[in-house]
Structures are given as C-alpha cells and as structure tokens.
C-alpha cells in the first residue's frame, strides 16, 4: 500500500518546494486555497484582457490614419489572444473557460478596474498604451517569476507583446504632443485623466491589502503593491518629460534621500467606488460582453450541432 500523507504534511512539503523556488505544475499536489487563488487571479487577468478590448476597440473605426488603424486593430487582436492564452492557463487548474465567462458575466469575478473608465478622445488610445500597459508590464514582469508554472510562462510571452504596445502608445502620444495645439491639448487631457487610475492599478496600499501576505508566502505575488507602484512612477516620470507632457500631481518630485520620486495621495475612495461597480463604464462593459455572448449563442450552437453530425458521420463510416 502506498503511504498516505496528511494534508498538513503535504502542505509543508508544498511550502518547502515553493521556498526553494520550484515552480508548481498542473499535476502537482497543491492546497485548495492555492488552487482557488490561482484560478481567481488568472481568470481575473484573462477577463481584463477581454474587457480591455472595449475601451480601445472604441476607436478602431475612427482611427485617424490607416497606419494607426492597423496598429490598433492588431493590438486589440493581441488582447483577445492573451485572453485565450490565459483562459487556457486557468484550465490547467481544472476549470473551464465557459465557467469563468459565466462568473464574469454574472459579476462574480472581477477584471481590472481601469477599464471602467471611458476613452473620450483618440489620445486616450495613446494614454492607455503608455500608462495602462506600462503599469500592466510593471506588474506582469514581477509575475514572470510567480510560482505557478503555466501562469509564469504565459506572462513571459504576454510581457513581450505588452512592451511593444507600450512603445506604440508612447509614440502615438509623442506625435500628438509635438503636433498641432489641439493635438497637444488632447494628449495632455488624456494623461490628466489616466494618470491616477493607472496608479490605482497596483491595488490598495500594502497595509490594507488583505491577500498580500499569503500570496507572498506562496510566491504568487513576488513584489508588493506599493513597491510596484513606486517602480512604475520612477519609470514613468522621465518618460513624461520626454513626451513634453505634465503628470497631474503637484507633489511629484525627486526625493534624494529615498532615491525615488515622491507622489501625492491617491484617492482611494474613487478606487473603491469603481471596484465596487460604480465607475463610469462598469455596467456598459459587462452589458457589451453579455450581448456578444447572447447574440453569439446561436452561432456556437450551430457549430456544436454541425460538429456532432460530422463525428456521427465519421463513426458511421
């Protein structure tokens, strides 16, 4: 008879493996809470890619040059690809894409709150590329070393494409910033609106972040919210200067002692409002997803019926 292990001893062995920087693979034993945390996090990430297609997709049909139209279309397509890839990573943990989609549509799983802000002008496409993708990369670079193997490997690939997107966003804004007066204003207005929400993307301050301690112990999370936020600010301030655009924070300044940029207080009330479902576009984003799902139901059903018939024919032959 093979020896049986108590959950407790398995959990100890699991933690030891994590501590010695071994990755967790789909067939390894893992604590249920690790599994459910991982599913939730990967699903949330996948949902963010899919919902994130909406604010940028909003400008594809109005893109002001054919070159920009091609770049934007390809970018939004990449996001759909990332979504697919991440859902597949979640499926290695024993859930199905359909279940996760249903949870999203029922409002029981979240996506990044940043996408609940509207894209009001063309410059918002650039601001999303530069700031939102910039923040996402900061986050995701840390996640390339996350303990769950399939997720870490997905991050490596996604980061490569995201940094491409970020450069394109920067370049789009640069063109606007040194363009006509109206274009420059458009760019500044977009940066004014996206800067603070981008800082909120790293989540609440460490002191108030309920999941951080366990996630750090399991090495799901390798760097804390506040540290990631600081990295992002330090990286972005010089870029803003290069763009000739101001960041909307009078307290922003280099702190010689800390060796970092200081920045002003974040409006966490706004963050809670948007996470809580009361942002400008929460309802819109989900209702677009629901409509696409409902209107596509007959197509998926037809494909299944056809597939079934083909298989029937093959086995009859």
């Amino acid at each position: 008879m093979p020896p049986t292990y108590s959950d407790e001893s398995r959990e100890l062995a699991f933690q030891e493996a994590i501590d010695s920087d071994r990755t967790v693979e789909p067939r390894d034993w893992m604590p249920e809470r690790y599994r459910s945390t991982m599913i939730r996090q990967i699903a949330q990430h996948a949902h963010s890619e899919i919902i994130g297609m909406q604010p940028e997709g909003n400008w594809i049909t109005r893109a002001p040059s054919l070159r920009r139209k091609a770049i934007l279309l390809a970018k939004v397509q990449d996001e759909a690809g990332h979504g697919l890839y991440l859902y597949a990573a979640a499926e290695t943990l024993g859930v199905e894409r359909r279940e996760l989609t249903d949870l999203l549509l029922a409002g029981r799983q979240k996506y990044s709150s940043i996408f609940n802000y509207p894209t009001l002008t063309w410059a918002d496409v650039g601001a999303i590329g530069w700031l939102v993708d910039g923040a996402a990369i900061t986050n995701q670079l840390a996640l390339t070393k996350t303990s769950y193997g399939p997720y870490a490997r997905a991050m490596v690939r996604i980061c490569r494409e995201e940094s491409f997107h970020q450069r394109q966003g920067f370049e789009l804004l640069a063109e606007l910033s040194r363009g006509t007066e109206a274009q420059h204003e458009m760019a500044q207005d977009a940066v004014n609106r996206w800067w603070w929400p981008a800082l909120m993307m790293f989540g609440p301050p460490d002191a108030e972040s309920p999941n951080t301690a366990q996630s750090m112990a399991w090495k799901i999370k390798r760097v804390s919210n506040d540290d990631l936020r600081q990295r992002f600010v330090d990286m972005t301030v010089p870029q803003a200067r290069a763009l000739g655009l101001d960041l909307p924070d009078p307290e922003l300044g280099w702190n010689e002692t800390r060796g970092h940029y200081d920045f002003g207080p974040i409006d966490w009330e706004e963050f809670r409002e948007v996470v809580g479902g009361h942002g400008p576009c929460n309802l819109q984003r989900i209702s677009v997803r629901r409509a696409a799902d409902e209107e596509g139901a007959w197509v998926r059903e037809a494909a299944r019926a056809w597939e079934g018939r083909q298989q029937g024919r093959m086995s009859a032959a």
Partner: protein
Amino acid sequence: MTAQVAELSAVDLHEAALELGDDCLVLSHRLAEWTTHAPELEEEVALANLALDLLGQARSLLSLAGEAEGRGRDEDRLAYWRDDREFRNLLLVEQPNGDFAVTMTRQLLFSAYQELLYERMSSGTEPRLAAIAAKGVMEARYHLEHARLWVQRLGGGTEESHRRMRRALDLLWPYTKELFEPTEAWVRAADQGALPPLSSIEGSWRQAIQAVLESSHLEAPPFSAWQSGGRRGRHSEHLGHLLAEMQHLHRSHPNASW
C-alpha cells in the same frame, strides 16, 4: 520594354487600383466593426486577422493609386478625403454586418471573387499590381476557407442557423452581379493584360459558390433584383455612414499628422 507591348495608362492604373483598394478598405472596416462583438473569442482573433489582411492590401493599392495619379495623394489622402461618390468599391462590401450569417456570406461571396481575381492578376503585365496580388492571393485563400467552413457549419447546423443563412443569401445575392460588370478602365486594363477580364472568372466563381452552397444544404436564390453602381460611385445608403465615422477625426484636424 518593347514598343509593341502597350502599357497601362497611368489614369487606368489609378482607377484600377482604386477599385480594388476601395473594396479592401471598406470590407476591412466592416470586419473591424465586429471587434468585441464576435460570437466567440477565437472568432475575435480571426475576424481581426481578416480585417488586418484587407487593410494591408488596401494600403498597398491606395498608395499605388496615388502614385499612378501623380498628384501627391497618399493612402490617407485617398481614404479620408474622398466623399462617397468618389469611392469605387462594390456595393457588396459596404453592406452592413447584420448577423454572423450575413457577415460570413458576404465574406464567402467576396473572397471567392478576390481569390480568382488575385490569382490571375499575380501573373498580369503590371508588375506592381501583380506583386500585390501575389501576396494577397494567399490571404484571400485563407479568408475563403474560413468563410466556407462557417457557411457549412451554419447552413448545416441548426434550424435557426439554416434559416439565418437563407436570409443572408437573399439579402446579399442581388449584389453579386456587379462583381462581374467591368468599368471602362477595367476593360482597358484587361486588354493590356494587367487585370483578368471579369468574364473569365465568372464561371469559376459560380462553380465555387455553387459547390459550397450545396455542401451547406443551401441554394442560390432563383431570382434577384440586381443592384450595381458602386464602381461608378453610386452607392447604397450605408457607405455614407461608414465614411462619416471613418473620416471624421482625420478631417477635424486637416493639417495634423498622426
């Protein structure tokens, strides 16, 4: 270059490239409208692929049209600063997306046409058109394959999908005659061997479509009130709205670069 091979005039090359380029530009735009509304995620990726391929072709063809014209109009000048009466695309490609059955039917009808066209164009006498076609034919083949698979699935899927497919065919069939009505510039381009005579591909197109419809339990509508005029700038009501959306931002900043 020998004297007896008459060259395609710049005016005709401009016109021909515009006709082909506008088809791609307008259909690409329609496909891009699906973004975030596709019936499944895989199809988001596929529809964007189609749209991107056609946009790439449109850019090459419009750039060529601008060069041939020699008045300094580039791809954006041609895409954003012409009104609907100056657009030369087929009526078929500007028809609204409708449901997924309409979109895939439109794609089947157009891609079958484009594949035959590009295949012959790629060995045509105008080197720049031939080069664009040689690259485009691979893409058209993939688009046709994608549309064919969906038409078969929908035609032979459920009662509802079958009903929607029949409705889509009724809706779009009237625009298919125009595919084979050449403009004067096209006739001259065909005389020079730069483009195939449309009569030379019509039979193959009918056969190809017929085969797909048969394998999808569908048939072409027996009669249609044929519509044409797109190649001469007489469009359906839909194109004006498409252009209004596509062009507004660009035109709002006349001297800007993007």
